[in-house]
Subunit: 420 residues, 2 copies
């Protein structure tokens, strides 16, 4: 394997330095670099000041093989990155014909006239390699100096990401002859990191040295990332798939998807495959479960609607929960949540009905039902699955976890495809 | 005014460097420093490596008056910040008695025995001033060298924030004799930044030099921050309030609150003051509006519930929207959304009923009703306010904006307190 390639990531802009906006670029960039085997050794932010930018470029050049910058490429006077880069390299700003064509095309498409200020967006240091930005007016730039690479990109996140994904990552891999790296993300839900690690320890220990495993825990979910390093992509893909097949024999019930799959999308796909529809009855989640489902484009094909039964009166009048059930067992109980799920299913005439009722907090807890006590249910007309969750002290986290557990309950309680 | 105080903010930790976790500390710290008149000149992240940490400390000391660090203070071997600071200052790690008392107390409260590893959390460089951390086991540390200040804090955000707010910001203000600074945030909704700037231009131009205005635009909202600098807090507070009183005469309709107020909280407070209740009928927002309202603790005192009428069948069967209305005008229409708001109010027997219906996207748009077309309504039993919004291409943004506009419609359509 070639020697390790070291990177520095620099964001330029007063608004980041003074904490007015969140810098999401450096995290994204260093995570993407990590995936192609390039190691970030320093991340920095500086303001739009020539002396500060020159200083950080000198420092970064002394440490790293590649320096990636974002920001300071706008058309206004306070954006000075291009001018400063020209000064750093001892080059001149000249209009780049390719860049000018890009800018002119964007303006003509928008029906605007090209002003001199906009024309200047196509002026680049004459030692820059132009990298076309198809989603904005500020171009990407690539510089080389003694085999070291400097990359300048706009600070707008979606423009920076477009340039990285469509040009710069590949160019970096070629320039530094980095090895072929293949990643596969395995997504699990319903089991904590340490319990999962226990269950798959033997599998993990048996992985060959060129396939590494990383645990990426998130809210109620654990992502497993397999990273294989070698010479040929097709070989790596096959090897990783063989490991996943082995993993699925150990923990089939927790794996819900791969890579960009989300639980909401997977559940939606499962419902569609079975020609089934879904309705929700929400108490403690207050609409969040409906939102989690409907933020997915196309969810209207399987999501019919729901009742937000916050007040007990709504549980009785709209969901036909029996007043005796509420009085005897309370709103936060297996009996209530079962009736809610079964009744919303009947009322909205869907295949599946689900329900939530709990103490989201921060107040309203009792000794018997402390904050974080949540009941969920999933009814399919034949069976009703119900489960008690003991969640946390934080209201928003409880709302999100309860919704996640309902989605997982749907996933686990659907019949195999083709069985009705 | 004293000479400007310059700060550098450094986060230490491999997990940030490789993009595995998001660094929210540096933004928060630099925003807080800005509020007390200390200017951040550089922000950096480095890994848990002695040479890298020593190098960045040398660089930062050459540039800044105060260096704030977070991270690398845990009890495990890969956390080397304390050892490295001792090396940097040529001092020794010794057990600090105050720090030991803190750690011992936390462990006894949790019912755990104090291990040697935990005892070592109380070992500090002997030139450090100990700063007690009442919300965790890693202490804060304060160092001085030629009037320059170095501060080391744990990387866990809530521990860092606790130390900053309860000790470090005040200590910095005293050490550097920074002027008294008073901030007041004015929150507006329903008007874009440039339109607002136009309306308040004269007011802005008439502000005295020691009161500065900053625009902080967010999603559908613009925050105005007034920053007053002087010698006495009480005087500054009075001066800022006088300016706000003048502003309220120019744009009374857009200002909904101050400082930590959120629109959801303000609307809830207004409903409570009037003894009124609220129900929602959601189509395109799919539950998000209900969630926005119910994520606020105590919302059950004014929020009764709602119907998520995603499918048109639910609009007819659960909300009694007339099938003729749906056929003639479509689901995304003034007529439909009015019936939804009026009927959910009657059905759930509340003071106010609100509704949304629109094309959230990315698909489903037509020439007449492109993606981003949303109708909202607010009914109080006497009048029904309805409004057409022309929003954006992005599904999640459309969902959030539509909910925001409904909340603002409630705010604007409630009667004055005491009038029913």
């Amino acid at each position: 394997m070639a020697k390790e390639v070291m990177a520095e990531v620099i964001t330029i802009g007063d608004e980041i330095l003074y904490g007015q906006i969140t810098d999401t670029n450096t995290q994204w960039i260093s995570a993407e670099l990590d995936k192609v085997g390039i190691r970030t050794v320093r991340k920095s932010s500086v303001g739009d000041r020539e002396d500060r930018i020159l200083e950080i470029l000198r420092e970064a050049e002394s440490r790293a093989d590649v320096i990636l910058m974002t920001g300071g490429l706008g058309p206004t006077k306070d954006d000075i990155t291009k001018k400063t880069l020209a000064k750093y390299f001892g080059s001149q700003l000249v209009i780049n014909e390719e860049a000018l064509r890009d800018v002119a095309e964007i303006f003509s498409r928008r029906g605007f006239e090209l002003t001199e200020l906009n024309r200047q967006q196509a002026a680049l240091p004459d030692n820059a390699t132009f990298i076309s930005n198809k989603v904005g007016t500020a171009p990407g730039m690539w510089f080389e100096k003694n085999r070291k690479v400097f990359v300048s990109m706009p600070g707008v996140p979606h423009e920076m990401k477009w340039l990285m994904e469509n040009a710069i990552l590949q160019k970096l891999q070629r320039h530094f002859s980095t090895p072929v790296i293949y990643h596969k993300m395995i997504k699990t839900v319903g089991i904590g990191e340490s319990f999962l690690a226990d269950k798959i320890e033997e599998w993990e220990d048996s992985l060959p040295p060129h396939i590494r495993l990383a645990y990426l825990p998130g809210m109620g979910q654990v992502k497993l990332r397999l990273t294989a390093t070698g010479d040929r992509l097709a070989v790596l893909e096959g090897e990783v798939q063989a490991q996943i097949d082995r993993l699925l024999q150990i923990v089939p019930e927790y794996v819900y998807g791969y890579d960009k799959d989300e639980l909401e999308t997977v559940v939606g796909r499962m419902l569609l495959q079975r020609g089934m529809t879904l309705a929700v009855a929400e108490s403690c989640t207050g609409g969040y479960l409906g939102h989690a489902i409907t933020r997915i484009p196309g969810s209207s094909r399987y999501f019919t609607g729901g009742i937000i039964a916050y007040d007990n009166r709504v549980k009785v009048e709209q969901l036909n929960v029996s007043p005796e059930t509420l009085e005897k067992f309370g709103a936060v109980s297996e009996q209530t949540v079962r009736e809610m799920a079964e009744n919303v299913r009947k009322k909205l005439n869907t295949s599946i009905g689900v329900a939530t009722s709990g103490v989201a907090g921060p107040d309203g807890g009792t000794e018997e039902k402390p904050v974080g006590t949540v009941w969920i249910a999933c009814a399919d007309g034949t069976n009703t699955f119900a489960k008690k969750l003991q969640l946390f002290k934080d209201r928003e986290i409880n709302i999100k976890f309860a919704s996640l557990w309902v989605l997982n309950a749907i996933r686990q309680n659907l019949p195999p495809v083709g069985v009705s």
